[in-house]
C-alpha cells in the first residue's frame, strides 16, 4: 500500500496556508496520525504544477475549477476536488487606463494570461455588457510581467489576479471596471486529488482535510497565532501582512468546513461548471475529440453535468463533511 504522497502548491493568496502547513509541522502531525508521509512541494510556475500533476508526478495539487477541468480532466486524469478552499471575490479584475467603464473596452487590446480564469472573467464581463470576445483583441501576456507591462504606454487594458491586480490598481489614473465579486462563486480555488489515489487511500484525504481546517481555524482568529501565521504566509508570497490582508479581503475564504460543504452542495456550482465547460469548449480547451461542451462529465452533489459515462472531475464533499462533523 502506498504511504508516500506528494502535494504541489503555488503562490496565491488562497493557497499560502499550504506553505504554513508544511513549515509549522501541521501536515506532518496529521500525516503521522494516519500513518502516511505527505511531501509538500512549492512550484513556482502554476501551469507547470498542474501539468506535473496531470503527468502523475503529484498526487494532489492546488488549482482553479476551470483549470481542473481543462488540464487534468481533459487529459483523462480523473480528479477529485477534495477541498473547496475559497472563491475569488474581487481577487480577479479587469482594469483600464483612465477614467473608464467596462463598455470602453470595445476595440482595445486586452493583456491577460490567455485561457486562464482571467480570460474567463473577461468573457463573463463582456457578456454582462452585451459584448463578446470579438469586440476586443486578447494579447497573451505572462502573469509575472503584467505589472511591468501595464507601465508601458502601449498597454491600455488588462485582466489579472492578485497580487498583480492591486499593484496595477495602485498606479494612478486607472479604473477597475469589472471584477470577480460580480460573478461570485464562479472562480473557485480547489485542492485537487487524483481520484484513483484518493479512493485507494482515504487516509490521504483525511490527513489533508484535517490539516487544512486546523490552519483555517488558526488563520481566521484575531490572536497572535493568527497574525504569526499570516505574516509567515505574507512573506512567503513576497509581500507584508498588510498586503496579504488586502488580498484576503477580496477572497471569500471558507474558514470552516461547513461553509465549504454548503457551497459544494448548492445547485449554483453545477450552473457555474456548465458556464466554465462552455467557455472551455469554445476555446478548444476540452481537447480535439470533444464534440460539445458536455463531453466531459462533472460530478457535483447536486448532479452530473455532461457525459455521465466520461466523468473526470468530481466535487466530493465527503471529507469536508467529516471535518465539519469533527470526525477526523
Amino acid at each position: 500500500e502506498k504511504t508516500d504522497f506528494k502535494l504541489a502548491w503555488t503562490i496565491y493568496v488562497g493557497w499560502m496556508p499550504w506553505d504554513y502547513a508544511a513549515a509549522s509541522g501541521i501536515v506532518d502531525k496529521w500525516a503521522d496520525k494516519y500513518g502516511i508521509n505527505i511531501d509538500i512541494v512549492q512550484v513556482n510556475d502554476y501551469v507547470e504544477s498542474i501539468n506535473q500533476y496531470t503527468a502523475g508526478q503529484f498526487d494532489a495539487t492546488v488549482m482553479t475549477n476551470m483549470d481542473a477541468l481543462t488540464i487534468p480532466a481533459a487529459s483523462g486524469v480523473d480528479s477529485t476536488a477534495l477541498i473547496v478552499g475559497d472563491f475569488s471575490n474581487g481577487n480577479d479584475g479587469v482594469v483600464l487606463k483612465g477614467d473608464k467603464t467596462l463598455k470602453d473596452i470595445a476595440g482595445q487590446q486586452v493583456n491577460l494570461v490567455e485561457l486562464s480564469v482571467s480570460h474567463y472573467l473577461l468573457a463573463r464581463g463582456l457578456e454582462s455588457v452585451g459584448m463578446s470576445e470579438k469586440d476586443v483583441k486578447v494579447v497573451n501576456t505572462s502573469d509575472a510581467d503584467l505589472v511591468a507591462a501595464f507601465s508601458s504606454d502601449t498597454v491600455t487594458a488588462v485582466t489579472t489576479w492578485n497580487p498583480l491586480l492591486s499593484e496595477i490598481t495602485a498606479q494612478p489614473n486607472t479604473s477597475e471596471v469589472f471584477d470577480s465579486s460580480m460573478i461570485p462563486g464562479e472562480i473557485i480555488d480547489l485542492l485537487v486529488v487524483n481520484t484513483e489515489t484518493l479512493e485507494a487511500n482515504p487516509k490521504l484525504g483525511k490527513a489533508l482535510t484535517g490539516a487544512w481546517y486546523e490552519i483555517m481555524a488558526t488563520m481566521s482568529g484575531t490572536d497572535a497565532a493568527a497574525t504569526e501565521a499570516k505574516t509567515f504566509m505574507a512573506e512567503a508570497s513576497g509581500t507584508d501582512l498588510a498586503g496579504y490582508d488586502a488580498q484576503l479581503a477580496s477572497t471569500k475564504m471558507f474558514y470552516t468546513a461547513a461553509e465549504a460543504v454548503a457551497f459544494t452542495h448548492s445547485a449554483d456550482l453545477m450552473a457555474t461548471m456548465q458556464k466554465v465547460s462552455e467557455f472551455s469548449f469554445d476555446h478548444g480547451l476540452l481537447g480535439e475529440g470533444a464534440p460539445d461542451a458536455t463531453f466531459i462529465g462533472i460530478e457535483t452533489p447536486s448532479g452530473v453535468y455532461g457525459n455521465t459515462s466520461n466523468v473526470k472531475l468530481r466535487f466530493n464533499p465527503a471529507y469536508m463533511e467529516m471535518a465539519a462533523e469533527g470526525a477526523l
Binding site: T70, L115, S151
Partner: protein, 276 residues
C-alpha cells in the same frame, strides 16, 4: 590498424551508426507512449503518432475555426519576421560597433567596457525595463533578441578585426587609403564572412530569446503557440512545433553557410577551411 583511435568505420557503417541513436530514441518513445496510453487513453504527455499527425494537419493544413488563418504558417511567419529583424539588426550593429571598436581607438576606449558590462547582464532579468522603454509590441521582442546577442557579436567582430594582420592595414595606408577607405575596402569585406560565422554561432541564443519574448507577450508566433497550448498540455502540438523550430534553425544555419561559401570563396578556400 589495431589502436581504437586508428579504426575507421566504413561509409555504410558510419551511416548506420549515425542513425542508430535516433532509432533507439524513437523506439523508447513508442514503448513509453504505448504504455501510458494503455493506462489512460486520453493521456496527453506522450501522444501517439496518430495524434501528432492529426495535430500537424489541424495546425498546418486546416484554417483555424476562430480566425480562418493557417496557424502554423502564421506562427512561422511572425516568428521568422521577428527573428530576422532581431538578428539582422544585431548583425548590423555588431558590424558597425565591432569594426569601429576594432579600428578606431577613440571609439574603443569608451565603448568596449560598456559592451563587456552589457554582455554580462542576463537579459531576462531586465525584461520589465525593456517593456517600459519599448512597449509590449513587436519592438520589444526584437530588442530582447538584440540585447541578448548583439554584445556577443560585437565582441566577436571586434576580436576578428583585431586579428587582421597589422601588415594589411599598413600596406593599405602606403597605398594612400584614408581611414574610411581602408575600413570600406580592406576591413569590412574581410569581416563579412566572419560576421556570418558570428551570426550562425548566436542563432541558437536568438531562438531562445525569441521564444522567451513570445512566451511573455504575443498573439502569434511559434513560441506563443507552444506556451499557450502548454496550458492544456497539448504535447501533440508542442512536439511537432519543437521539431519544426529545430528544422528551421538547421535550415537557417545551413543557408548561411551556403551563402558564405558562395559570396566569399576566398575565405573558404584556404584560411577559413577549418570552419564548419
Amino acid at each position: 590498424m589495431t589502436r581504437i583511435i586508428n579504426r575507421q568505420p566504413s561509409r555504410y557503417g558510419r551511416l548506420a551508426l549515425g542513425f542508430l541513436p535516433f532509432v533507439i530514441l524513437l523506439l523508447v518513445y513508442i514503448v513509453a507512449s504505448d504504455a501510458r496510453l494503455a493506462e489512460n487513453s486520453a493521456d496527453k504527455l506522450l501522444p501517439s503518432f496518430q495524434s501528432f499527425a492529426d495535430a500537424v494537419v489541424r495546425m498546418g493544413f486546416e484554417p483555424s475555426k476562430r480566425t480562418g488563418e493557417y496557424l502554423l504558417l502564421n506562427d512561422t511567419l511572425s516568428s521568422l519576421q521577428r527573428l530576422m529583424m532581431g538578428v539582422g539588426l544585431s548583425a548590423f550593429i555588431g558590424l558597425v560597433i565591432g569594426v569601429g571598436n576594432g579600428m578606431v581607438p577613440y571609439m574603443r576606449s569608451p565603448l568596449s567596457p560598456l559592451v563587456t558590462a552589457i554582455s554580462l547582464i542576463p537579459p531576462m532579468a531586465i525584461l520589465p525595463i525593456l517593456f517600459i522603454i519599448f512597449g509590449l509590441g513587436e519592438l520589444s521582442k526584437v530588442v530582447l533578441i538584440v540585447i541578448g546577442i548583439c554584445p556577443i557579436i560585437i565582441r566577436d567582430i571586434q576580436l576578428r578585426t583585431d586579428d587582421l594582420p597589422p601588415e594589411q592595414l599598413i600596406k593599405a595606408q602606403t597605398l594612400g587609403g584614408s581611414s574610411w577607405q581602408i575600413i570600406v575596402r580592406v576591413v569590412l569585406p574581410q569581416i563579412m564572412p566572419r560576421l556570418i560565422e558570428a551570426v550562425r554561432l548566436t542563432l541558437g541564443s536568438a531562438w531562445l530569446f525569441l521564444i522567451a519574448a513570445e512566451a511573455i507577450a504575443a498573439t502569434d508566433g511559434l513560441g506563443y503557440r507552444i506556451f499557450l497550448v502548454r496550458r492544456y498540455m497539448a504535447m501533440d502540438v508542442i512536439l511537432p512545433y519543437v521539431l519544426w523550430i529545430t528544422t528551421l534553425a538547421f535550415a537557417m544555419d545551413w543557408s548561411l553557410k551556403r551563402v558564405s561559401i558562395l559570396l566569399f570563396p576566398w575565405y573558404h578556400g584556404t584560411q577559413g577551411g577549418g570552419h564548419d
